[in-house]
Amino acid sequence: MSQSITAQPFYKRINKAWLIEQKSLIALMCLIFVVSLLSPNFLTVDNLLNILRQTSINAIIAVGMTIVILTAGIDLSVGSVLALSGAIVATLIGMDVPVIVALPVALIAGAALGAISGIIVAKGKVQAFIATLVTMTLLRGVTMVYTDGRPVPTGFSETADSFTWLGTGYLLGIPVPVWLMAIVFIGAWYLLNHTRFGRYIYAVGGNESAARLSGIAVDKVKIAAYAICGSMAALAGIIVTARLSSAQPTAGMGYELDAIAAVVLGGTSLMGGKGRIMGTLIGALIIGFLNNALNLLDVSSYYQMIAKASVILLAVLIDTKQKA
């Protein structure tokens, strides 16, 4: 196709519209630039890998969150799904179940837990906020009952050691969680841009009744979106558990908010139907870099919260200004 945008050389695409489109990326660049001037320890390979590893948990959850938000929903239960899936995988590893079996089981469990929210939203016609507020509380309760409020250790077997590698190990000099994050983003990008299901997600979020009249099985798409979100939370739970060699019953509390913040910073509309997965990656990185920078600059954690809130508010305000 001669008029196709992709055929143009890269430098020709840098115009005003492109700059506006890429504003979160530009914001990230600015952040990196400023902090690297302020702190000599910032722009080192070790620190950058450290940031990526810390970001991976939130980024992986945010991928699922992006998909749910694109359907005009929201999932508050990711933190609870993370904790329960973590407890499940810790139990399995503790019982010396091979990693190759324990991982799929935990991921499927996460998907099933997410699907519960999806069914309540799609079939029960309950607003996503309420439905997932319910599952958030419910699943946290189940986790507490299951673990009796105590950490679940993975034990000291050989299985446990290879499991721990998922959280602490390196592959080709890069932390394993960062690899997992990369795989998840590439998979989600493929799903949203190159499959029917991806198009349906945008359609359902853009106009549900039009999607239904276009022959899309709206309920199935929604349930699948929540199930994907659940399995992403489970993957995050696996990494957290592997890193600590035990599952904490209180793990993941408040993670839903960081994930939503990453999605919104990435330019995805909470109204659904509009957004890009790579925006979410940038959003998660902004939060990650900001946390790290504030630590390096010795800002007290109390002030860090205020700083983070200000950045998010600023980003959202710029976004709404542009639309007006």
């Binding site: 196709m1 190159h194 029917r196 198009r199 853009g206 009249l213």
Partner: protein, 501 residues
């Protein structure tokens, strides 16, 4: 001619990349109805937005009651006595009729308490004037689309305006409601109001208007008394060229029954039976709320049926979802483009292919090149004017949006195409193109159901016309012999038989 109450002189307005208005003029005279005509994109709506201060003007001036004025927004112009009734409804469905009419200027006592009795009484008086048979305490969300439009009109009238602009006010109205609107317009005219009437419906223009102003490509073309012009010359002025016959009927050369519906009942539909032949255009007439859209949605599987059966090509089909209907070969293009027809945030391409993605993918993977090829083919064949296939569909004109909607249905290669009000809000030139498309499908043997409230269109395009009233079919006509009066009689509930008529 009397002195104009409102004059817009040589208005210019540019948006980035487009000159929307190029020396546009409009005069409004007290006690007269001025028709403002032009194709979609001619600048009618932009001109009205400049007048009411939603857009600022680049050049030109607005002279209102002898003074040069600028308005800083709709509130400002309304306070000065200029009301506008927009094409799109601006009502709050959860509030009552009275609350909507007096929104933001509730009638209150000295202490700020709302005087409900007073407010409802005033609203009731307005409703009575418009012959709306609902209590002012009725929730607006419970009204039909047409009735909601009437509430919007009641609201505009309540301002005691000197100039009232009506942008396609009858688009959603039934014939009966249109008549009571015309009565009110006549009253307002007698009181010395100046009215600007924007509509695509020629018949209405010649019925209700005194004079006409034509815009084309943002510029002023012509102003004259309505008595001095006829329909053909008016259309010529609007499109800038001669139009051939508006409804080019073609003879059906196909034979055999495609779709047989028998004793179908469901929500709003009661015991409906009819046959649709191959290569036939079957028109459905009726007043708003007669159950036509409801019937189509049952046939399309979007609403549940309680009784009856549907046969396609002699085989009984059971449809529980639009998905199954599309698979079976039935496509439905909704009357409500913005509500449940199009995905406004998505691109032309994504809208057009959304029903046909299963044909355009291998396993999970979309075949982008095939999709692009197919979409481009339809954009070319339908003459869809869009900057690119990736343009947001919300930015296209109504006519082009409608063409995309029809293309979307056609991409599934249906045997039965149901078009629900396919030319609503579409300008004259694009209407003709849509008619030609419909005829092309007909020639290919496709069976088409045409639901329309536009009587000349229905009579010009259809082979047969069925009339519905309160969920039942009350008349069947051969389009060649049908008369508007008898169709209307059936639509209001008189059961006629074509043999007797």
């Amino acid at each position: 001619m009397t002195q104009a109450i409102l004059q817009l002189q040589a208005i210019e307005k540019s948006f980035p990349g487009v000159k929307a208005l190029d020396k546009a003029c409009l005069n409004v005279y007290p006690g007269q109805v001025m028709a403002l005509m032009g194709e979609n994109g001619a600048g009618k709506s932009t001109l009205m937005k400049v007048l009411t201060g939603i857009y600022s003007l680049d050049e030109g001036q607005i002279i209102y009651q002898g003074e040069t004025r600028t308005f800083n927004g709709p509130r400002d112009s309304q306070a000065a006595g200029i009301s506008i009734i927009h094409q799109e409804l601006n009502l709050l469905p959860e509030l009552t009729i009275a609350e909507n009419i007096f929104l933001g200027r509730e009638i209150t006592s000295a202490f700020g308490r709302i005087l409900w009795d007073e407010m409802n009484a005033q609203a009731a008086a307005l409703l009575a004037r418009l012959a709306i048979s609902h209590a002012p305490q009725t929730r607006v969300g419970d009204l039909s689309l047409g009735e909601q439009q009437m509430v919007e009109i009641a609201k505009a009238i309540s301002f005691d305006s000197k100039v009232i602009i009506m942008d396609e006010p009858t688009d959603a109205l039934t014939d009966v409601e249109t008549q009571s609107l015309f009565k009110v317009i006549n009253e307002l005219r007698a009181q010395g109001c100046g009215i600007v009437y924007i509509s695509h419906r020629m018949q209405e223009i010649f019925t209700i208007c005194d004079a006409v102003t034509v815009l084309r490509d943002g510029g002023f073309i012509h102003e004259c008394a309505i008595a001095d012009i006829d329909e053909d010359r008016l259309i010529e002025r609007m499109v800038g060229r001669k139009l051939a016959d508006q409804y080019p009927r073609i003879v059906n050369t196909h034979q055999g029954c495609r779709l047989a519906v028998s004793e179908l009942s469901g929500l709003g539909v009661n015991n409906v039976s009819f046959n649709l032949n191959k290569g036939e255009i079957l028109g459905f007439s009726g007043l708003m709320g007669a159950g036509r859209t409801e019937l189509m949605k049952i046939i399309f599987g979007a609403s549940a049926k309680t009784h009856g059966e549907i046969n396609l090509n002699g085989n009984l089909i059971r449809l529980n979802s639009p998905q199954q209907a599309l698979d079976a070969g039935i496509a439905y293009i909704s009357e409500d483009r913005k509500g449940d027809g199009l995905l406004l945030e998505l691109s032309v391409k994504e809208n057009m292919s959304i029903c046909a993605l299963s044909k355009l993918s291998s396993g999970l993977q979309l075949r982008h090149q095939d999709e692009i090829a197919e979409v481009d083919q339809f954009i070319g064949a339908f003459n869809i004017k869009t900057p690119s296939r990736d343009a947001r569909i919300g930015n296209l004109s109504g006519g082009n949006q409608q063409k995309v909607a029809i293309a979307k249905g056609l991409m599934t290669q249906p045997q039965v195409l149901i078009l629900d009000e396919p030319t609503r809000g579409v300008d004259v030139g694009a209407k003709k193109e849509i008619y030609d498309l419909i005829n092309r499908f007909k020639a290919q043997g496709m069976s088409i159901i045409l639901v329309s409230s536009d009587m000349p269109e229905l009579m010009g395009m259809s082979d047969r016309i069925l009339v519905m009233h309160q969920g039942q079919i009350t008349g069947e006509f051969d389009a060649a012999q049908a008369e508007q009066e008898t169709i209307l009689a059936c639509a209001v509930g008189k059961t006629l038989n074509k043999d007797i008529a």
